[in-house]
């Protein structure tokens, strides 16, 4: 049932055509496609596997795919040199170039099918966030791209910025992780964001896969009475909340095995260690958004996980 819909192969499943945005902010000119997967790529090799993954996920779940490439403004120095030639032409050249790169990337996966690619002018994080909002996407897929020095634009800092700004979960695909994850480690701090992250995980892990909820207690063990009381409460709370979250995940996707692990130490380190031990191909964390005051930002643990991960990373807002 899930695999029966293949949106990529449809007549024009991707409703978009090249949107030639100019120096203005990007405009979303198309109708909302509910529950779409938004693939953000820069056409470089670091995001090749993100393209393959997004297409595979779209095929598996039947969710329509939106492909978005951000045409980043040139650094200031380059722009000044570019003033020697007509600026619009330069932009057009870069835009065409990017479009071709992305088209080749997609064709490498799906062959000679018609593909709609959006090229939007602007910073990747803002462009992706705006498009995700405007198109009603439910998931952003981008390259983690850290292992390829050439993938500067969609490198892990870009993935981090996209994750920080996106209104929906962002999945940063590490090179080599094309297939759907089978073992996911979820960093759980029991904030609402981490619960959303856990739920988002159940939607991307392959059927029959395993989701391991990891909570790291950062407080060192202490024998004094004060700490003893807190520890009792803490452990009882973690046990009870683990149960609640596991039940929710099970209800969301009954084909998954849910495990829970309580660890001690530095959260990001321990989560990555456990992910390595389990051979996980996905690590998930919630973004800590104190949105009102400081704009979008990513919590320290989540940022460290994103920077340190050797597998794909899912960040939920």
């Amino acid at each position: 049932m899930e695999d029966s819909m293949t949106t990529i192969a449809g007549p024009v499943p991707l409703t978009t055509r090249l949107v030639a945005a100019r120096r203005t902010e990007s405009h979303v000119v198309q109708a909302k496609v509910r529950d779409a997967i938004l693939l953000a790529t820069d056409g470089a090799s670091g995001s090749t596997d993100a393209v393959g993954f997004a297409i595979a996920l779209s095929r598996r779940t039947g969710a329509p795919l939106q492909i978005l490439a951000a045409l980043e403004p040139l650094p200031l120095g380059v722009d000044q040199d570019a003033a020697l030639i007509p600026a619009v032409d330069l932009l057009q050249v870069r835009e065409d170039n990017l479009h071709c790169l992305v088209r080749d990337q997609v064709r490498a996966v799906i062959g000679d099918q018609p593909v709609g690619i959006n090229v939007q002018y602007g910073r990747a994080a803002q462009v992706v966030a705006e498009a995700a909002r405007g198109w009603g996407a439910r998931l952003v897929v981008a390259g983690l791209g850290r292992h390829d020095p050439a993938a500067r634009v969609y490198g892990s800092e870009t993935a981090l910025r996209i994750a920080a700004a996106a209104p929906v979960p962002t999945l940063a695909i590490a090179p080599g992780f094309v297939s759907l994850p089978t073992t996911a480690v979820v960093a759980v701090d029991f904030s609402d964001a981490s619960e959303r992250a856990a739920l988002a995980t159940t939607r991307v892990v392959a059927a029959g896969g395993e989701v391991c909820l990891v909570h790291v207690n950062p407080f060192p063990h202490d024998e004094s009475g004060e700490a003893q009381g807190w520890e009792t409460v803490y452990l009882a709370g973690v046990r009870s909340l683990f149960g609640q979250v596991a039940r929710k995940l099970h209800a969301a996707n009954k084909k998954l095995t849910i495990r829970t692990v309580l660890a001690e130490g530095r959260p990001a380190e321990r989560v990555l260690e456990i992910a390595a031990q389990l051979g996980a191909d996905l690590v998930t964390a919630g973004r800590h958004g104190a949105t009102a005051v400081r704009g979008e930002r990513v919590g320290g643990t989540t940022a460290s996980v994103l920077r340190g991960a050797t597998c794909s990373v899912l960040v939920a807002p």
Partner: protein, 329 residues
């Protein structure tokens, strides 16, 4: 019996005498209702508060149907000890200092009227709190009952202070009795912070209750409205942890016919909230465990115990911390 002793010895390692009234197991298997009342030491200086402590001891002994309670009385002469004498039991030696004769005979009259005539009177010298603790140790008492004077400012000051010092330093459970409320009633409010100390004091409190009675486990939650967003997860953990831990504590307590155990979470400053709650429930007494020394005293109950002693309108039961290192010199 020997297994019980062994168990107590193991779980209170490093301690020469087991904590009175408390078996340190967690399963509730070794709970012995009468332990706390095995050997009672009543401290009196002949005042009304001392009389209240004696009456409390008499009430508790009366609850132990069938057996005459082992009760001793201690009083302290606030003077340096005479050479070659740390303290004495009245009647066993003739050498009663002349300056103390009238006050000691007053205390004997008080024992006859407020307590029972057979209770022996130990006389100690020196600083009252220290001498009472010493006597508790020498007599291997399981419970110290001490009165808190209230009516005059000085009595309140000195009375409460001695009681506070005894509570802070005794290696046994202490029941502090205000002079106008020498009864335990039928309900107790147990201050709970989920340390081992609060589990111990809950058991001790239960052993003092006579069915039918109510035991209320009360946790005071600090106000968290202004916590930063990073704390969101910890708040969730705390809230659901308190609920779960209260349930665990409830089920870890021995089941006694006629004693109903309830649990409550209230918000506020620990001492005020506990006192308000106890007053609203018309609780017979309040129970609070001591953690130990150092930083632990800062938290909910350590510092709260002092405030409770100073302001409570009902008796206060405290249990000593279990010592982990070698006993203090």
């Amino acid at each position: 019996m020997s297994t019980v002793d062994l168990h107590e010895h193991v779980t209170t390692s490093g301690q020469d005498t087991p904590v009175a009234g408390v078996t340190a197991d967690t399963a509730g298997m070794l709970w012995k209702p009468a332990t706390l009342l095995d050997r009672i030491l009543v401290a009196t200086d002949g005042s009304r508060a001392g009389g209240a402590a004696l009456r409390m001891a008499r009430e508790l002994v009366a609850r132990k149907r069938g057996s005459v309670g082992d009760v001793r009385v201690v009083t302290v002469l606030h003077r340096p000890a005479p050479a070659g004498m740390a303290g004495f039991v009245l009647g066993e030696t003739a050498s009663v200092p002349s300056y103390a004769r009238s006050s000691l005979s007053r205390i004997r009259r008080q024992i006859r009227s407020a307590g029972l005539p057979g209770w022996e009177l130990h006389v100690e010298f020196g600083s009252p709190a220290r001498a009472i603790c010493r006597a508790a140790k020498h007599t291997a008492s399981t419970l110290v009952i001490i009165g808190i004077g209230r009516h005059t400012p000085t009595a309140r000051l000195f009375g409460a202070d001695t009681a506070r010092r005894v509570v802070a330093n005794a290696d046994v459970s202490v029941l502090s009795v205000a002079e106008d409320t020498p009864t335990l009633g039928r309900s107790v409010v147990v201050a709970v912070d989920f340390s081992a100390a609060s589990a111990r004091v809950a058991r001790a409190a239960m052993s003092l209750l006579e069915p039918p009675a109510n035991l209320h486990l009360v946790h005071v939650r600090p106000r968290l409205e202004t916590a930063p967003p990073e704390m969101e997860g910890y708040q969730h953990i705390y809230m659901s942890g308190v609920e779960a831990a209260l349930g665990e504590l409830r089920s870890s307590l021995p089941k006694v016919d006629g004693i109903t155990v309830g649990s409550f979470v209230i918000t506020g400053a620990p001492d005020t909230a506990i006192l308000d709650f106890a007053r609203r429930l018309n609780a017979g007494f309040i129970a609070a465990g001591r953690h130990g020394h150092g930083i632990a005293e800062r938290m909910l109950i350590g510092s709260t115990t002092n405030a409770l002693l100073a302001r409570a309108e009902c008796p206060i039961l405290t249990t000593p911390p279990v010592q982990r290192t070698s006993p203090r010199a």
